[in-house]
């Protein structure tokens, strides 16, 4: 150790062996980065960290990392950072100090001013105070489970999110997993699905999800291609960044693209698709086995350049985009004696082919470019012809250094080009004779019978955002029972049915309606006209409304009846002889019969839920099914259980109704209580979600209408459904009320 450093070491007053080993190096780096006063402060801070009783890690991380932080942030960031460390030390969160310091340099690189760093510290402090728990409510005794994980992940997060995005992502985690330590850890470790989904939502750049339709239209309109676009994730693979590729399953594109060099993310997506479409149009696969990797790379560069050139011939506007995105390697950027420059040379030639104003001097390059243009002058040429030219160029400019491991990569990656996997055919699969390790069959848990789950978002009224893919909804056919039961029920209500029938006959559509007394109309209404003429002749004021016209009055209403089948339906009615379920059964049977008579398309479905992971949506009758024994059998087997998560069921029902072609789409919801579920403690949360779902339905032109059997429903049902609800107090009269209500609604 230098004598000067020796003094500092004594000032530090530290006995940790690992610190002693690296101190000299750290001190030298710090001396270079800090002025003397700040250096003293640095040593003091390190000294404090050494005496926290948290082992050597915090001190080590600080000594090593701080010079980097200070080099990036010009104003002195030490006081706020030490403040925050003291706050952590006072709370039970001391163990998080080491991870905090370890990732601080990376954070500073993303947030290079004091103000931004302060914002970051505020987010972390907020997370700490809100997730640190206590047993008795007096002193904080339980450490925040998510905080250390948060610090570990934060460099990766800040790479993808803005600070505001990070704040929202953290907020979501605190809100939804604040009371569940294990889930909280998973969330902040980015191991939970919703954590990744929320992160994806908050990312900067152009999200594939937002522009998918435009890209689809682009491909179809400009390139007459119909291909599925599949996004791949760019967030979790920082070392090996995937590149776009095209295979049998579709065109693969990144899930998010940032603007670059004045080209918007959307245009970059378009450039990628155009290039792939160009390959599909003009490239023919080549046999790869006899060529070396270098030769293949050269062929790929030449072929890509040919495709780009042809694309620009087709749509000259692409030139601006391609030239802005294609790197422009400087001719003397690297030393061919020490570095492998083949890749670099190929990037140069690719640039030179696209850009007539390239200004490169190399004669071999210029001659090859001239030959290239000569080849393409007559027409699109072919992949094989280009391959020949590429091989000739590689042979001609070959250097000893091409084999070196040190390769010049800067300015050689063309971001909009795909990996050309479709360009090669391999005759031999590989050198192995047999595959010994057969792919093992993983044993998967048996999925519930029926369709795969559909995922629906849920509205979080506190943050005013959707929780993405929050609810899993399973749709299945309702089990069948004894159809005769329904027939008996209908027979029991025969008198009521007769009365309904009279009402229905009045409702039946009459196709043509004559509208008389019109000033302008299709035809002269002779009676009125003559009367007007007589008036006119006798000197009175004639009625000018002497025409009439016809109007067609048809009924075009699709109805979906959604039944709440939650546990509370098993309760007896106040009169005591029947359960609400049985009464609903009668009512629904009668309504279904009535609507069948009327000829409107009707679907019936029931729903109940057992936490957000299982919302059951049971199909009882479809729109095109007639009112037959099968439907009656399902209706007869109706059973109640579990809870009422209404939002997801409304969304699912809306998705069916939305797909119907009808003038009016009516969603009747028959329920007996407020939305609730066992995994939600906040009474308002699910009502707010249902209210949101109702609003979504209105946007799809679906009219939701609630029929509530809960006498206390007025408190909340208006919040959810607005004015579109009726409360039926006297449950005994449900059967006749329900049908009458429907008739009144659709008259």
């Amino acid at each position: 150790m230098q004598p000067r450093i020796q003094t500092y070491w004594h000032e530090l007053d530290c006995g940790f062996q690992p610190v002693a080993e690296v101190f000299e190096e750290c001190a030298l780096a710090a001396l270079a980065a800090l002025d003397p006063t700040r250096f003293t402060a640095y040593l003091d801070a390190a000294c404090i960290l050494g005496k926290l009783g948290r082992g050597p890690e915090p001190m080590l991380a600080f000594l090593e990392g701080w010079p980097q932080v200070a080099a990036v942030i010009k104003d002195d960031p030490l006081p706020p950072v030490m403040d925050f460390i003291r706050a952590m030390q006072k709370s039970p969160n001391g163990p998080a100090i080491a991870p905090f310091l370890q990732t601080l340099p990376a954070v500073a690189r993303c947030q290079p001013t004091l103000a931004l760093l302060q914002d970051y510290l505020d987010i972390a402090r907020d997370l700490m105070t809100r997730t640190t728990g206590s047993v008795h409510g007096l002193q904080q005794t339980i450490a925040s489970p998510g905080l250390p994980e948060f610090f570990t992940q934060v460099p990766q997060l800040l790479d993808l999110l803005s600070l505001e995005g990070l704040r929202r992502w953290t907020e979501y985690g605190i809100r939804n997993h604040g009371n569940h330590p294990e889930r909280q850890v998973e969330y902040f470790r980015l191991a939970a699905a919703d954590s990744r989904a929320v992160m994806q939502r908050e990312r900067h750049g152009t999200l594939f999800h937002d522009v998918e339709r435009r890209l689809d239209l682009y491909l179809r309109a400009l390139w007459s291609e119909q291909e599925i676009l599949v996004p791949y994730s760019t967030a979790f693979d920082a070392i090996r960044q995937p590149v776009p590729y095209d295979d049998k399953q579709g065109m693969r594109v990144p899930d998010v693209i940032d603007d670059s060099n004045g080209i918007s993310g959307l245009d970059r997506y378009r450039a990628i698709l155009a290039h792939m479409a160009g390959h599909r149009r003009w490239s023919t696969p080549l046999i790869a086995d006899n060529w070396s990797p270098f030769q293949r790379m050269a062929v790929e560069f030449f072929e890509d350049a040919r495709i780009d050139l042809l694309l620009m011939r087709e749509y000259p506007g692409l030139r601006r985009v391609f030239l802005a995105l294609h790197p422009r390697p400087e001719e003397d950027a690297c030393d061919p004696e020490t570095t492998s420059t083949l890749r670099f040379r190929l990037a140069m030639i690719s640039r030179a082919i696209l850009d007539p104003g390239h200004g490169y001097r190399d004669p071999a390059l210029n001659e090859t470019v001239a030959r290239f243009h000569a080849l393409l002058a007559a027409g699109p040429a072919s992949t094989a012809a280009l391959a020949e030219l590429a091989l000739a160029y590689v042979a001609r400019t070959r250097r000893q250094s091409d084999q070196f491991a040190k390769i010049h990569f800067a300015d050689t990656v063309v971001s909009y080009r795909d990996d050309n996997r479709q360009l090669w055919r391999f005759i031999e699969q590989g050198d192995e004779e047999e595959a010994f390790d057969e792919p093992r069959q993983s044993q998967r848990a048996a999925e519930p019978a029926g369709l795969p789950p559909r995922h629906y978002p849920e509205w979080d009224y506190q943050t005013q955002t959707y929780r993405p893919d929050w609810v899993s909804l399973y749709e299945a056919l309702h089990p069948a029972g004894e159809p005769l039961k329904i027939d008996r029920l209908l027979a029991k209500h025969a008198a009521l049915a007769k009365r309904l029938k009279r009402l229905l006959d009045l409702l039946k559509p009459q196709d043509k309606v004559r509208i008389r007394y019109q000033e302008e109309g299709a035809e002269l209404d002779l009676d009125i006209a003559l009367r007007a003429l007589i008036d006119f002749k006798s000197g009175a004021q004639p009625d000018p409304r002497i025409n009439m016209s016809h109007q067609t009055a048809g009924r075009d209403i699709a109805v979906l009846l959604l039944l709440d089948l939650s546990e509370s339906l098993n309760e007896k009615t106040p009169a005591g002889d029947q359960s609400i379920l049985e009464l609903s059964q009668e009512a629904v049977s009668l309504l279904a019969w009535a609507i069948d008579r009327l000829g409107d398309p009707l679907a019936i479905a029931g729903f109940h839920s057992d936490t957000r992971h299982q919302v059951r949506y049971q199909h009882i009758k479809g729109f095109s099914e007639s009112w037959n024994d099968e439907v009656k059998a399902r209706l007869a087997a109706m059973e109640a259980g579990w809870s009422t998560r209404m939002g997801a069921a409304l969304r699912h029902a809306g998705h069916y109704l939305g797909a119907r072609q009808a003038d009016k789409k009516l969603l009747l919801v028959l329920t007996d209580g407020r939305p609730s579920d066992v995994d939600v403690s906040d009474e308002r949360a699910l009502s707010e979600d249902a209210r949101r779902a109702v609003r979504e339905l209105a946007q799809q032109d679906v009219v939701p209408y609630c029929i509530s059997l809960d006498p206390q429903a007025d408190e909340y049902v208006a919040d959810i459904f607005g004015r579109r609800y009726s409360v039926i107090d006297n449950i005994q009269r449900l059967p006749e009320k329900l049908s009458e209500l429907f008739i009144a609604l659709t008259k």
Binding site: R214, L217, A221, L222, S224, L266, Y315, G317, A522, S549
Partner: protein, 267 residues
Amino acid sequence: MTNTTQYLIKQKPFYQPQGNEIALYEAAYAARLPVMVKGPTGCGKSRFVEYMAWKLGKPLVTVACNEDMTASDLVGRYLLDANGTRWLDGPLTTAARIGAICYLDEIVEARQDTTVVIHPLTDHRRTLPLDKKGELIEAHPDFQLVISYNPGYQSLMKDLKQSTKQRFTGFEFDYPSAELEAGIVAEETGVERALAAKLIKIAHTARNLKGHGLDEGISTRLLVYAATLIGRGVAPHDACRMALARPITDDADIRATLDHAIDAVFA
């Protein structure tokens, strides 16, 4: 008596034949067979009929059909005047009297009960009964009925009855090939062929989107509009946005795609 000359086509309309449709039409006219012309909007259906009327030297009575049109709009109606009521011939009646070619444009737009009145004129009877007036009109020997319709946008509700369809001989029109269409645009507006070819390229991008958010692609008529604007000194980007992209869609995504196509073609 109606002034026949007002229905005559005075100037030769420009028409670029796509096949042997002119000869076929002349044959149909010689036998006075009713003709139906099908095809997407703006592909030259009306122009073709106009051209044939000019070529045959017959008057042409055109009726644009719409939803509110009733049988009396075609046949005629009683109007009131100072002395009582007076009969006024409708366009169909007029055409049958003076021996014109009666062209019912976009016939599916009219209500189905309306289209039935043309039936007696389109078979061997060639008569038009005016039941309200108590008159039976024998069609003039030169009279011919032509209808046009666009099978593209018709919904389930809008279709011709089989009994109507089967009274006509048919022509199916489509947008001409790129080469021909460029010729048409250049001829109509006097722009250069290279520019016309570029416009047609944009039109093809939109036609690829038919059924994916667009009910109809960009028609030849719109291309002529765009070329006219360019010919009057409007910048190609603006002219195409105004004449090609804006009119055909309100969908933001499709508009963005078309705008991009315009930028890509006019670099």
